[in-house]
């Protein structure tokens, strides 16, 4: 990004960050350990507001957008600096609610494809914590086939008129802006008729519906767009060139599980193995309570959960190194994604088994065990959200191992003529 001789070396940067954090950054509140699915809307808004304040604090301290060019309000440093900063900030509070998808994939997409004007207008408010972004990507009809977007943008003078529906967006009900993939041409094959728009979420025509999951969580939303008007100045990338943007967009999205240059906070690897099931600590406690610490079956199962988390913690950097040295294709992050999903499934199953009958029927005092049951019901979410494990396996086999691609019936056919699912009920 800049000549290496200009750049503060990582160690002195880390020392400076350490000192600044100690003087300025609050420690994380205890409640941060709570299960987010328990949160009330009020609580979520409170956390969003706190995230915005913390982001502003980082910005004022000169630690926001470490890898963002200084022209747009960032620090113009390198991934190594960001990673060092993440190590330093691990024990402090930091913005969580407004990190993703604002800082990845939205920010790098705008950085890569935005006009100078768009970058000047939109990136600094992100870094100051003023705007939280969301991604309007998946659609109810589409599943893993993101490029099969049915949401349509029709040109009307200097404006585009958007109609359609997007789904599985997180925090859409409090976000300010969205990046939206829409179809601008039905007469060409699907990848060649898409465009990307920036959407002001506070404008008329956008109706946001909260989706209730079977465990009561309402973190995901569905949006219904009805004659939403977007000025030409908010289009990102070329008309009908949206898939070029989309490919990079999704690559940035996948770096969430690897090492993104734009995300601040505890490296994700430390969180591996803490998916559904609640990690190893409650299992250990349960086994101790029941005198099962040396039971051959229980001790193996608990050890398995711990082993999967230890292995997971080494896998991320091993894959990242493989990509860096060229041994692995850039898409090899799909291996980590597959590991996270499949090990979470296994962990949820083990936790359910160890919780016994209290996981299916529990008193107030056994709520922790009941959660193991609910987590087990939600088990597959770990293999669905953020791209299914089926898609990961496609990516690994085709793009990492180079095996022949799946046959698609939608190549070289005008999208209009591609067979698709019957409309949803």
């Amino acid at each position: 990004m800049s000549d290496t001789t200009d750049v503060e070396d990582v160690e002195s940067f880390a020392a400076r960050a350490r000192a600044w954090l100690a003087a300025n950054m609050p420690r994380p509140p205890d409640e941060s350990r709570r299960d987010p699915s328990d949160d009330s809307d009020e609580e979520e808004l409170r956390r969003v507001a706190r995230s915005r304040r913390l982001q502003r604090l980082l910005y004022d301290g000169g630690f926001a957008g470490i890898c963002v060019p200084s022209a747009y309000g960032g620090q113009g440093l390198t991934l190594a600096h960001q990673l060092a900063f993440n190590e330093e900030i691990a024990d402090y509070d930091y913005p969580t609610e407004t990190q993703l998808p604002t800082f990845t994939p939205c920010l790098p997409v705008i950085l890569e494809f935005g006009t100078e004007d768009q970058k000047n207008t939109h990136i600094p408010p992100m870094l100051r914590g003023e705007t939280a972004w969301m991604q309007l990507l998946s659609e109810p009809s589409g599943g893993s086939d993101v490029a099969a977007a049915l949401t349509t943008a029709a040109r009307d003078g200097d404006e585009w008129v958007l109609n359609g529906s997007k789904i599985w967006t997180t925090g859409a009900w409090w976000a300010d802006w969205g990046l939206c993939l829409a179809r601008t041409n039905w007469d060409v094959p699907k990848h060649r008729g898409l465009s990307v728009f920036m959407l002001d979420m506070h404008q008329p025509g956008i109706e946001i519906h909260r989706i209730e999951m079977l465990n009561g969580s309402r973190e995901f939303c569905q949006e219904f767009l009805t004659d939403v008007r977007v000025p030409e100045s908010l289009r990102v990338g070329a008309v009908d060139g949206g898939w070029t943007v989309g490919v990079r967009w999704m690559l940035h999205e996948r770096t969430v599980l690897g090492q993104s240059p734009y995300v601040t906070g505890e490296p994700v690897r430390r969180r591996l193995g803490q998916g559904p099931g609640g990690g190893v600590a409650p299992l250990l406690q349960r086994a101790r309570d029941l005198g099962l610490l040396t039971d051959p079956k229980a001790s193996e199962l608990i050890g398995e959960v711990f082993a999967m988390s230890v292995v997971g913690s080494t896998l991320g950097s091993h894959i990242a190194e493989g990509i860096r040295t060229g041994r692995l294709a850039e898409d090899a992050g799909a291996i980590t994604r597959l590991y996270v999903g499949t090990s979470a499934v296994r962990n949820a199953s083990i936790a359910f088994e160890l919780a016994g009958l209290s996981a299916i029927a529990w008193s107030d005092s056994e709520a922790e065990l009941g959660k193991r049951g609910i987590d087990y019901l939600m088990r597959q979410a770990a293999c669905i959200g953020g791209g299914t494990t089926e898609m990961s396996r496609n990516v690994i086999s085709e793009r990492v191992l180079g095996m022949p691609r799946e046959r698609a019936f939608d190549r070289d056919v005008p999208f209009r003529d591609v067979p698709r699912s019957a409309p949803q009920r």
């Binding site: 209730e212 079977l214 016994g356």
Partner: protein
């Protein structure tokens, strides 16, 4: 896929139509918000269809359809699973079967008649909380107290424990395992509702802190209930297995439909080989589950020596592969499969709740080893 023969066909068809009309899934969702999860009138009508009489001898007011009462009941349970139907089917039938076999005249005249008429529900209070949750564990004690017995201990979870008027309690007496039929309003009995995964069923924790019951509440002689409890366990599991097969069938059929109608990359999901192969595994699990479950019910009716082998093999298999089948159905649906609005979780909850109830798959596998080791010695 449970094969009805002769009169069973009409019986099963009648039950199916009744459930379709009375408890469609929208109604099941409505009932999920109620305290009891089902309406008394629904249960009474079901009893009139024969749901509660199948395991009770004719001289006690009962009667089966085909002469094979457990198989008859398995057909009902299969339909319950297929419709995620609410209602205290297993508990009531376990209690009715116990009273029909071992009840006193008074117990037959009063409680059993109520159960047969559908005027009251029964609950089987057998399971106990960890660490007494092993198969065959029994920590609740019954000690002589004046003319009767004093009960100390905890039973949990008890399905329909708060809805049932009559509760069959298994206890450890100095002379051996002993059963009592006690009314739910027995003085001193604490019945605490529990939270639960299954939206269609209710569970409770029953605390016996010196509950005194008269000797007339005994079911069978003190100390003599060991083999009877074993039979009731096999009975409960064999009904549960049929219900699980029904729920699995709904999920499988629904997901096959989805795979044919859902397109991705211009192709239906059903055209993707990896998904096709998983459907093949699911089909195998489903057929094998139905095969062993039907066989277990038939073995109950024949009261064969291999009864427990069949039942425990069934619980191991269906309990091991059933949840995987369900979770694969969720996975095939993608995000929509874990939303509250989709019906899949009604069936998922039922299967998951059944897995540890009346013994985990692992406990039943270990039980098989015990049976083998005994036979082999």
């Amino acid at each position: 896929m449970f094969r009805a023969v002769g009169d069973q066909e009409l019986f099963q068809e009648t039950t199916r139509r009744f459930l379709e009309v009375e408890v469609p899934l929208a109604k099941v969702r409505d009932l999920a918000g109620t305290t009891d999860g089902y309406e008394p009138s629904f249960w009474r009508q079901g009893a009139q269809l024969g749901w509660t009489s199948l395991l009770v001898p004719e001289d006690a007011g009962g009667g089966s359809i085909s002469g094979h009462g457990v198989v008859d009941l398995a057909l009902v349970a299969y339909e319950f699973g297929l419709h995620a139907a609410p209602g205290p089917l297993i508990g009531t039938n376990v209690v009715a079967a116990a009273l029909g076999r071992w009840g006193t005249d008074d117990q037959r005249a009063g409680p059993l008649a109520d159960l047969l008429a559908g005027d009251a529900a029964g609950a089987w209070a057998h399971a106990e909380p960890a660490p007494n949750d092993g198969l065959g564990d029994l920590a609740l004690t019954a000690t002589r107290s004046g003319d009767g017995f004093s009960l100390h201990g905890v039973k949990s979870p008890v399905e329909a424990g708060r809805q049932a008027a009559y509760i069959l309690v298994s206890a450890r007496h100095e002379s051996g395992p002993t059963q009592f039929l006690i009314p739910s309003n027995a003085p001193g009995l604490m019945i605490k509702p529990l939270h639960g995964l299954d939206m269609t069923r209710r569970h409770a924790r029953l605390e016996f802190d010196g509950v005194t019951v008269p000797s007339t509440h005994l079911v069978g002689r003190p100390g003599s209930a060991g083999a009877n409890i074993d039979w009731l366990l096999d009975l409960a599991v064999s009904i549960q297995l049929a219900e699980m097969c029904g729920a699995l069938t709904w999920a499988f059929d629904t997901t096959v439909d989805w795979a044919f109608n859902r397109y991705s990359f211009g192709r239906p999901l059903a055209s993707y080989q990896e998904l096709k192969h998983r459907f093949a595994d699911m089909k195998m699990w489903l057929e094998a589950s139905c095969a062993i479950s039907a066989d277990a019910a038939a073995a109950m009716d024949r009261d064969q020596a291999q009864r427990s082998e069949r039942v425990s093999a069934g619980k191991f298999y269906v309990g091991r592969y059933g949840p995987e089948l369900m979770q694969d159905c969720v996975q095939m649906h993608g995000g929509i499969g874990v939303t509250f609005d989709h019906d899949l979780h009604l069936f998922l909850r039922r299967i998951v709740t059944d897995v540890p109830t009346y013994g985990t798959p692992g406990q039943h596998a270990a039980r098989l080893t015990g049976i083998l080791a005994g036979a082999d010695r």
